[in-house]
């Protein structure tokens, strides 16, 4: 049996008594205390997450910008230095292999963050498609750690850490009072501070050398505790993203849905010939939220109905701690996708009434 991978913060999680679970071959913290408490800490105050399992792949060279325009549906060549953009890798059928965030470091150097379970697949996909482009592609995932600070009071933690907010979907390289090692993304002894996250709250993600992870984590934890915050595991990361209708790679899609079906058409803004472009259709179904009056939770694979007709499928579900109702995400035929439409969801032997919503169910 292959041993599970661990982030440089694994021992910190164990020290904090985290419940460790297997997440796509990684030993990761599911929760430190209670998922619901960690969820509310992020919504009301601030929370911190170890997301070092996510990948980091550098694309550099003379053709880096035009290559990324070829391999992504988003016009990456128009990003300014210091900007980040949400995008997705499409297969030749136009369906999403994985979603990602791309960062522009300089005119001819970028890096992007694939999901943990997709690092090897995406690295190979990008390499395979790079023939004819003057680019160098490097997987530095093991060298880089990432700690997310999320919540309305994340600015207080930034102040404690001497970090300034770079702006939403922007990033900056910042010096720290800590003696830092050189990180292999920028080859500088600085933190990469990114105005991104996966909770729908204000916040940042701090990228640094894996060797600095424990130092950054401990400083952030000390600050978090001062501001009624909590370290948070993957459990609350999942419930937080569901309330905000954010897609989860490998759960909501697995190479079978295109950006229009996933309700992220905004990423398709590229006039050049990108991979999958000619296969892109509007799609019969679209990604939506479902709000259920009660606490029976739809789960992946449950079906959505209008009378006797099956009109959709659930891909994620949980109890929303904010709405105190069950919520779900999934795909529904476009003709029933208008927010406010009443449908039923089959859960075990029951048909429960549900209301269609935009994916973002908590404002």
């Amino acid at each position: 049996m292959v041993e599970n991978k661990r982030t440089p913060l694994y021992d910190e999680h164990v020290r904090l008594n985290a419940k460790i679970i297997d997440f796509h071959g990684w030993d990761m913290p599911l929760q430190y205390t209670k998922i619901l408490d960690e969820h509310m800490a992020v919504r009301r105050h601030v929370g911190m997450f170890d997301v070092s399992h996510m990948g980091d792949i550098i694309v550099e060279g003379k053709d880096a910008a035009s290559f990324l325009d070829r391999i992504l549906p988003t016009k990456i060549s128009q990003l300014k230095i210091g900007d980040a953009a949400y995008s997705a890798f499409l297969n030749n059928d136009g369906n999403i292999i994985d979603d990602t965030i791309v960062y522009r470091l300089s005119l001819d150097k970028f890096f992007f963050v694939p999901n943990a379970s997709m690092i090897d697949i995406i690295f190979n996909w990008v390499k395979e498609n790079s023939t004819g482009f003057d680019v160098r592609i490097t997987n530095v995932s093991d060298d880089i750690a990432c700690i997310a600070i999320q919540g309305p009071e994340s600015d207080k933690v930034m102040a404690d850490l001497g970090i300034s907010y770079p702006g939403q979907f922007k990033f900056s390289l910042q010096n720290s009072s800590m003696a830092l090692k050189t990180n292999s993304i920028t080859n500088s002894k600085q933190l990469i501070i990114s105005g991104t996250g996966y909770t729908g709250e204000n916040g940042i993600e701090i990228l640094c050398s894996s060797e600095d992870a424990v130092g950054v984590w401990r400083s952030a934890l000390e600050s978090i505790k001062r501001h009624s915050g909590l370290p948070c595991g993957l459990g609350s990361r999942d419930t937080l993203r569901m309330e905000k209708g954010m897609l989860l790679s490998g759960t909501d899609f697995h190479g079978d849905r295109n950006p229009h079906e996933c309700a992220i058409s905004f990423i398709v803004n590229n006039d050049t010939e990108f991979i999958g472009k000619n296969s892109l259709t509007k799609g019969k179904q679209v990604f939506r939220g479902f709000i259920i009056d009660g606490k029976i939770i739809p789960r992946s694979g449950n079906t959505v109905h209008n009378g006797n007709i099956t009109i959709g499928t659930i891909t994620s579900g949980t109890l929303s701690p904010i709405l105190e109702k069950s919520i779900a995400l999934g795909f529904i035929d476009r003709e029933y996708s208008k927010p406010g439409t009443n449908v039923t969801i089959r859960i075990r032997d029951r048909y429960l009434p549900a209301e269609v919503s935009r994916p973002k169910m908590v404002p």
């Binding site: 619901l36 459990g235 939770i297």
Partner: protein, 124 residues
């Protein structure tokens, strides 16, 4: 260490039960509640429903997943712990005080373990 009281029987599907005068009280083990994480809803069965040993008795919803609880015995549901409808999180706090269902036994039990066997079963 997982709490496993000596006076109860345990199933491979992590229910605990105790029989007294033909009435079997059923709950879930400490191991089960810990695996489930935060319990948010317990879909209790109707009083009067008949269950076969090993058949789904009720379903527990946690933020993470839905898990079935199986009947340890053939019988009829004579009482449910309706307090758990409003406060299912009590099961996370004390899974042995917060029983779920009482069943009047009419037939056989599933295979079960004593506390020591069960501790070994969960790998402790």
């Amino acid at each position: 260490m997982t709490k496993i009281p000596e006076n109860l029987r345990y199933t491979k599907t992590h229910e605990w039960f105790a029989e007294e005068s033909g009435v079997v009280t059923v709950g879930i083990s400490d191991y089960a509640q810990s695996q489930l994480t935060d319990i948010v809803y317990i879909d209790l069965p109707a009083v009067g429903s008949k269950k076969k040993a090993g058949e789904t008795l009720l379903t527990i919803e946690s933020v993470k997943s839905a898990e079935d609880v199986f009947s340890p015995v053939d019988g009829e549901v004579i009482q449910v712990n309706s307090k758990l409808s409003d406060s299912p999180e009590e099961v996370n706090k004390d899974c042995y005080a917060n029983w779920m269902v009482k069943i009047r036994k009419t037939g056989k039990f599933v295979d079960s373990m004593d506390a020591a066997q069960y501790r070994k079963f969960i790998g402790e």
